[in-house]
C-alpha cells in the first residue's frame, strides 16, 4: 500500500444514490465551503456512509474512509516508520494522505477508537488546520480541500465510551435517523428492486422492531437490514423466510424476543 499522490483510487466516478431526507445536503455544502469538520450522528445502517460518498462525489473530492476500532492507535491514522532494505521509511497513514492531498477523510465510528487517538485530530479541526507528525518532527498544513468527517452513534454507548467534550465541540453536526416511512419505502424499492407494497410492509416491520429499542433490543431493524430482506425476497425466497433471515435472526439471540418479533411481523404481513 503506497501513497498515490492523486488519490485516484479514492475518487468516486458514478453518482452514489442518495435520497435526501432533510436539509443535510445544504448543511454539508455550507460546512464544506468553510472546510468545517462535520460529525454525522445516527443509528447504524441509516445512510451515513452513503451520504458521505454522495457528498464526496458531488463535491468532486476523493474520499478516504477509516473504520475506527478498539485497538486503533494514533499511528494507524497518522502513519509510521516501516523497515525496508535501506533502513526505515516513513509511511503516511490514511489521515495524513488526506491532509496532504486534499481528500475528504471519513472516520467511521470514531468513539470506538482509544481516546488518545482522537486527540490527533484536534489541531486539524480548529483554526490551525495542521497535522503534527511527532515521530518525524514534521508539521503538515492541511491541503485547501481537506475536510474531516466523523460518524458517531450516540444511541447505545455507555458514558465511558462517549466522545470528549473538547472533541465534540469542534464539529458541525448533522443528525441522521431512519427516514420517514414513505421515504424509507422509496429507498428500499430502489435499492432492493422490490415493488411498493412489499417495501411498505418491510417499513412497517421495521417500525415494530424500532419500538422495541431499549426494551430488549439494542437497535431496531436498520434501513440496511430492510434492503437485505427485500433483496432476499425479490430473489425468490418467501417473504417470511427472508424477514426471518435478514432481520429476526441477526438482530437478537433472545428466544422471547424472537417470538415477539415474529408475532409483530406476522401482523404486518399481508
Amino acid at each position: 500500500m503506497l501513497t498515490s499522490p492523486d488519490l485516484a483510487a479514492h475518487r468516486i466516478a458514478a453518482e452514489p444514490y442518495y435520497r435526501p431526507v432533510g436539509d443535510e445536503i445544504a448543511v454539508f455544502e455550507a460546512a464544506w465551503a468553510h472546510r468545517l469538520p462535520v460529525m454525522l450522528k445516527g443509528p447504524t445502517g441509516c445512510g451515513k456512509t452513503r451520504f458521505v460518498e454522495h457528498m464526496a462525489w458531488r463535491l468532486g473530492r476523493p474520499l478516504i474512509t477509516v473504520a475506527a476500532h478498539e485497538d486503533m492507535t494514533a499511528a494507524d491514522l497518522a502513519g509510521r516508520f516501516l523497515l525496508d532494505a535501506q533502513g526505515t521509511v516513513w509511511h503516511d497513514g490514511p489521515l495524513t494522505q488526506a491532509v496532504r492531498h486534499g481528500a475528504i477523510c471519513y472516520l467511521d465510528e470514531i468513539v470506538e477508537a482509544r481516546q488518545d487517538t482522537t486527540v490527533v485530530i484536534h489541531p486539524l479541526t480548529d483554526a490551525r488546520r495542521v497535522l503534527p507528525l511527532e515521530k518525524r518532527g514534521e508539521l503538515i498544513p492541511a491541503h485547501a480541500d481537506f475536510q474531516l468527517v466523523i460518524s458517531y452513534n450516540p444511541g447505545y454507548q455507555s458514558a465511558v465510551k462517549d466522545l470528549k467534550e473538547s472533541t465534540k465541540q469542534r464539529f458541525i453536526a448533522i443528525d441522521f435517523d431512519y427516514p420517514a416511512p414513505e421515504i424509507e419505502a422509496e429507498i428500499i424499492r430502489r435499492e432492493a428492486g422490490v415493488e411498493a407494497g412489499l417495501a411498505a410492509t418491510l417499513v412497517a416491520i421495521a417500525a415494530c422492531s424500532r419500538r422495541l429499542r431499549g426494551q430488549g433490543l439494542d437497535e431496531g431493524a436498520s434501513t440496511r437490514m430492510l434492503i437485505h430482506a427485500g433483496r432476499l425476497a425479490s430473489g425468490g425466497v418467501g417473504l417470511e423466510t427472508a424477514v426471518n433471515a435478514a432481520i429476526v435472526l441477526p438482530i437478537t439471540d433472545d428466544a422471547d424476543m424472537r417470538a415477539a418479533l415474529r408475532v409483530a411481523i406476522n401482523a404486518c404481513l399481508p
Binding site: 492507535t73 494514533a74 499511528a75 509510521r80 516508520f81 523497515l83 533502513g87 526505515t88 515521530k135 454507548q157 455507555s158 458514558a159 465511558v160 465510551k161 412497517a204 415494530c208 422492531s209 419500538r211 422495541l212 426494551q215 430488549g216 422471547d256 424476543m257 417470538a259 415477539a260 418479533l261 408475532v263 409483530a264 411481523i265 406476522n266 401482523a267 404486518c268 404481513l269 399481508p270
Partner: protein, 782 residues
C-alpha cells in the same frame, strides 16, 4: 346385580381366609361396623377374586392397626362399595395400607377425609402410577405438616388433575417451601396455602394441567404490545378463580389483567390465546376513547355496543396490520348450528362483523353487517359502536329473546370482558340493579367462590397489585430480569423488577472523620495504593509490531546487517495497559439483618459503610473505574437499588453523603441484584470486571424459598462469568465464629453461590474495613 345373585355366587367363597376371619373377629364387638363390613364383603365376593378379598381384608386390618377409628373404617367400606367393582380387592387393600400410613402421621380425621376425597377422584385417576402419586403426596404432606392434611384434602379436587400427578407432588413441595421457617407465622401461611386460601396456591393450582401460563408469556406479551402499539400497558394477572369459570381479559384503565393460565389448553393453544387477547386489548387502548357512560343503557345494549366496539377497533387494527386477521379468525367459529340462545346469536354477530364475507341465515347478522359497512366512513368515531349496538339491541328486544345478563360471557374467548369500555359511575338509578348484574357476571373473580371464601383474598390482592406506582419514595422501575426457578428447572423471563431508589443523603463528612480516626489503617492502605500504582502503564520493547520504533533494537539490526548476520526484526515498541485495567462494582447488602448491633454499639451497616468508604478512597487514589450500589428487596416486584456512585462520576462529597444515608430494611434477593450489577458494569470498557458483593447472610425474600434464591444467585454468578465479569462475595458471618470451620451459616451459602475460591468470610465484623481493602488489592493483582 340383584342381591339374590350375589348370595348364590358368594356361596362359593363363603369360607373366609385368615385375614377375613381376623377382621371379622376384631369387628365382632362393634355392631355398626361389623354389619357394614359384612355387607361390603358380600359385594366383593361377587368379583370371584379370593386373593383380592384377602388383600382387601388385610387393608382393613392395617387401618385398624393404625387407629383409623370407626370413621376411617367406614370411609374405607364406602369406598369399597362404590369403587370395589372397578378397582378390585388388591387395589383397595393397597389404598388402605397407604391410608393407614397417612393415619399414623395425621390422625383418623385426616384419613377419613382423604379416603373420601380419593373416592371421588379415583375414577379420574390414570392407573396405579397416579394412585401412588396421590397417596405419596398426601403422606409427604402429613409427615411435614400434619395439620394441613384436613384442609387440603377438602379442596384437593382443585389441585388434582388426571394425567398431572407429578404436578400434584410439585404443588405440595411448593407449598412446603413457600411457607418458610416453622414459626407461628410460617405455619399459618402454610395452612392458608393448603386450604387454597392463598393467592400463590390458587395460581399454582390453576396452572396444573395448563400448558403455559402468564409467567412464561408476560415478557413476550409486553414486547408484542410495544412492537405493535408503541407502548405496553402494565400487565397483571387476574385474581385466581375456579378452573371451570370461563376467563376473559380485563382492561382496568392502563392495566391489562390476564388469566394466570388457560386451563385445558395445551401450550401452543394457550400461547396463541394469550397473544390474540393481548393484541385485541392493546387495540382497545390504542384506538379506544374515553369510556362510554352507562347512563340508562340496558345490559343487552351494553353487551351489543361492546361487541360493535370490538369489531370497530379490530377493523382499525387490521387496517394497519393486515396479518392480525390471521391471528383472530380461528376464534370466530360460531354458526347457525349453535342453538337459538341470545349468547349464540351474539357470537354470530361478532363473527359477521369480523368477517364481512360470513353469511348467516339470521337477518339480524346481515343487518349488523350492513350497518357496520355503512358506518365505515366514520370508523374512527367510537360513537358508531353505541349507535349500532343500540339498534341491534332494540331488535333483539322486539323479538322477545331473553338476554341472560348474569351469565353473559364475551365471545370469542380472546376478547376482553368489555367492562373497561364503560364508565359505571354515572348509572341511572333505575337500571342500576340490572347493570350491576352484568358487571357482576363479568367479574368472575367474585363468582368463583361458591362458599363465599374466594370473595375475600382475591379482592384484597387485586387492590394490592394495582397500587399505582408513584415516583419519589417508590422509586422508578429501571429494569426487569429473569430468575431461575430451581424446582421447576426453568428460567422465568422478566420475573423480577428492579427499581432505582432516590438517594437519601446522610452525613458524609462524619463518615470521613470516622475513617480519619483510624490512622494506622489508612496509612497501610495508602502504602498499598502507592505500590499498586507503580508500573501501571508498561511499555513493551522488541515487539514485532507497535506504534513506534524501539531505537535500541533498530541499532542492533543495523549492526547485524553490517556484520552480515540475520537481523532480529522485532524492532517496535508498544505500550499496553498493565493487568490492572480493572473496573469494580461494589454491591452492598442493606437488608434488615444489617440493622443488627455489634458489641461496640455500631450496626452491621455502619461497619459496611466505613469499609466501603475506605475502599472508595483507595480506589479513587488508584484511578480505577468503580461504582457503588446498595440493594434490598421486597418480593420479586420490588428489588430496590440505590446508586451510591456511578462509574462516570468521581468519588466526592455527594457519593459519600449517599453512602452515609443508606439505611437497613427488607430482604436480600441477591440474584437480581447481581444481574443488575452485571448490566451496569457490562457497559464499562475495561480488561477485567469485578463485582464485589458485601453481604451478611444468605439470600432470602418474602415470596421465594431461600434455597431457590441461592440457586438463582449461583446462576447469576455463572452468567456474569460467562460475560467476563468476576464476582466475589465478602460475607459478614459473626454467627459462624463459634463452630470454627468455614462452611457454617452465611459462609456456606456464599460458597455455594460464588465458589470456594471467591468467598471471604469475615468473622469479626469490625475487621471488615481492613480486610475489604486488602482483598481488593489481592484481587486486582490476579
Amino acid at each position: 346385580m340383584k342381591a339374590g345373585e350375589v348370595g348364590e355366587v358368594g356361596a362359593v367363597m363363603e369360607r373366609p381366609g385368615p385375614n377375613s376371619a381376623r377382621l371379622a373377629g376384631l369387628l365382632a364387638g362393634r355392631e355398626g361396623l361389623a354389619a357394614t363390613f359384612a355387607a361390603t364383603r358380600r359385594r366383593l365376593v361377587a368379583a370371584r377374586d379370593p386373593a383380592g378379598l384377602e388383600l382387601w381384608a388385610e387393608g382393613a386390618l392395617a387401618l385398624l392397626d393404625a387407629n383409623a377409628g370407626a370413621l376411617g373404617l367406614l370411609a374405607y367400606a364406602r369406598l369399597s362399595e362404590e369403587q370395589g367393582h372397578r378397582l378390585g380387592g388388591a387395589v383397595l387393600g393397597e389404598v388402605a395400607r397407604a391410608a393407614a400410613q397417612l393415619c399414623r402421621q395425621a390422625g383418623a380425621k385426616a384419613t377419613e377425609a382423604a379416603l373420601q376425597a380419593f373416592q371421588s377422584l379415583a375414577p379420574a385417576m390414570d392407573g396405579p402410577g397416579e394412585r401412588a402419586l396421590f397417596w405419596a403426596g398426601l403422606i409427604r404432606l402429613a409427615a411435614a405438616a400434619p395439620d394441613c392434611v384436613v384442609p387440603f384434602v377438602g379442596r384437593v379436587g382443585e389441585v388434582w388433575r388426571a394425567g398431572h400427578g407429578a404436578d400434584f407432588a410439585g404443588f405440595i413441595e411448593a407449598g412446603l417451601r413457600a411457607s418458610g421457617p416453622a414459626t407461628a407465622h410460617g405455619r399459618a401461611r402454610r395452612r392458608a396455602f393448603f386450604a387454597l386460601e392463598d393467592d400463590l396456591a390458587l395460581s399454582l393450582a390453576g396452572r396444573i394441567g395448563a400448558g403455559i401460563g402468564f409467567a412464561e408469556m408476560e415478557g413476550e406479551l409486553r414486547r408484542v404490545l410495544t412492537a405493535l402499539w408503541g407502548s405496553a400497558p402494565q400487565l397483571q394477572t387476574l385474581p385466581p378463580a375456579g378452573r371451570d369459570v370461563p376467563r376473559r381479559v380485563n382492561i382496568a384503565g392502563p392495566v391489562l389483567r390476564l388469566p394466570d393460565a388457560w386451563p385445558g389448553l395445551n401450550a401452543p393453544a394457550a400461547r396463541r390465546l394469550y397473544v390474540a387477547s393481548a393484541v385485541h386489548a392493546g387495540a382497545h387502548l390504542h384506538f379506544g376513547n374515553p369510556r362510554f357512560p352507562v347512563g340508562r343503557d340496558k345490559p343487552v345494549q351494553i353487551a351489543l355496543a361492546t361487541l360493535v366496539e370490538d369489531a370497530r377497533i379490530e377493523h382499525l387494527a387490521m387496517q394497519r396490520y393486515p396479518g392480525l386477521a390471521r391471528l383472530w379468525a380461528p376464534y370466530h367459529r360460531a354458526s347457525a348450528d349453535d342453538g337459538p340462545t341470545v349468547a349464540a346469536l351474539l357470537a354470530r354477530l361478532a363473527r359477521g362483523l369480523f368477517d364481512p364475507a360470513y353469511a348467516d341465515p339470521d337477518a339480524l347478522v346481515g343487518k349488523a353487517q350492513a350497518l357496520f359497512r355503512a358506518a365505515l366512513g366514520e370508523i374512527d368515531n367510537p360513537a358508531i359502536s353505541r349507535e349500532i349496538g343500540t339498534r341491534l339491541a332494540n331488535d333483539i328486544g322486539q323479538r322477545r329473546l331473553r338476554f341472560d345478563a348474569r351469565g353473559h360471557v364475551t365471545e370469542p374467548a380472546y376478547r376482553d370482558d368489555g367492562l373497561g369500555l364503560w364508565d359505571f359511575s354515572a348509572v341511572d338509578p333505575e337500571v342500576t340493579a340490572e347493570v350491576e348484574m352484568i358487571v357482576e357476571a363479568a367479574r368472575i373473580d367474585r363468582r368463583a367462590g361458591e362458599d363465599g371464601k374466594a370473595d375475600g383474598p382475591p379482592e384484597r390482592s387485586a387492590v394490592g397489585r394495582a397500587r399505582p406506582v408513584s415516583a419519589g419514595v417508590e422509586g422508578v422501575v429501571v429494569a426487569t430480569y429473569p430468575e431461575w426457578d430451581a424446582p421447576a428447572g426453568i428460567e422465568r423471563a422478566d420475573w423480577v423488577t428492579v427499581k432505582a431508589m432516590p438517594p437519601s443523603l446522610g452525613d458524609g463528612a462524619a463518615l470521613a472523620r470516622q475513617l480519619e480516626a483510624n490512622g494506622a489503617l489508612r496509612a497501610r492502605i495508602a502504602r498499598l495504593v502507592k505500590a499498586a500504582k507503580v508500573g501501571r502503564a508498561s511499555r513493551l520493547k522488541r515487539q514485532s509490531e507497535g506504534h513506534d520504533l524501539d531505537l535500541d533494537a533498530v541499532i542492533e539490526v543495523a549492526i547485524a546487517r553490517r556484520a552480515g548476520l540475520v537481523p532480529d526484526l522485532r524492532v517496535f515498541r508498544s505500550s499496553v495497559l498493565t493487568q490492572r485495567d480493572l473496573a469494580v462494582l461494589v454491591l452492598i447488602d442493606i437488608s434488615q439483618s444489617t440493622r443488627d448491633r455489634l458489641a461496640g454499639g455500631l450496626s452491621v451497616l455502619d461497619v459496611e459503610k466505613r469499609a466501603v468508604a475506605l475502599l472508595a478512597q483507595a480506589l479513587a487514589g488508584l484511578g480505577d473505574a468503580f461504582a457503588l450500589m446498595a440493594f434490598a428487596s421486597n418480593g420479586r416486584g420490588e428489588v430496590r437499588v440505590h446508586e451510591v456512585k456511578g462509574f462516570a462520576e468521581p468519588y466526592g462529597p455527594e457519593p459519600a453523603a449517599r453512602l452515609a444515608g443508606l439505611s437497613s430494611g427488607l430482604s436480600t434477593r441477591l440474584g437480581a441484584a447481581l444481574r443488575h450489577a452485571g448490566a451496569m458494569i457490562g457497559g464499562v470498557r475495561s480488561f477485567r470486571k469485578l463485582v464485589l458483593v458485601l453481604t451478611d447472610g444468605e439470600p432470602s425474600d418474602i415470596d421465594t424459598a431461600s434455597a431457590d434464591l441461592v440457586a438463582d444467585a449461583r446462576r447469576a454468578v455463572l452468567q456474569l462469568r460467562g460475560r467476563g465479569i468476576d464476582s466475589f462475595g465478602v460475607t459478614l458471618d459473626p454467627a459462624g465464629g463459634g463452630e470454627g470451620a468455614v462452611g457454617e451459616g452465611a459462609a456456606n451459602e456464599a460458597t455455594a453461590i460464588f465458589g470456594k475460591a471467591n468467598v471471604l468470610p469475615i468473622r469479626r465484623v469490625e475487621d471488615l474495613p481492613a480486610r475489604l481493602s486488602e482483598l481488593y488489592f489481592r484481587l486486582a493483582r490476579r
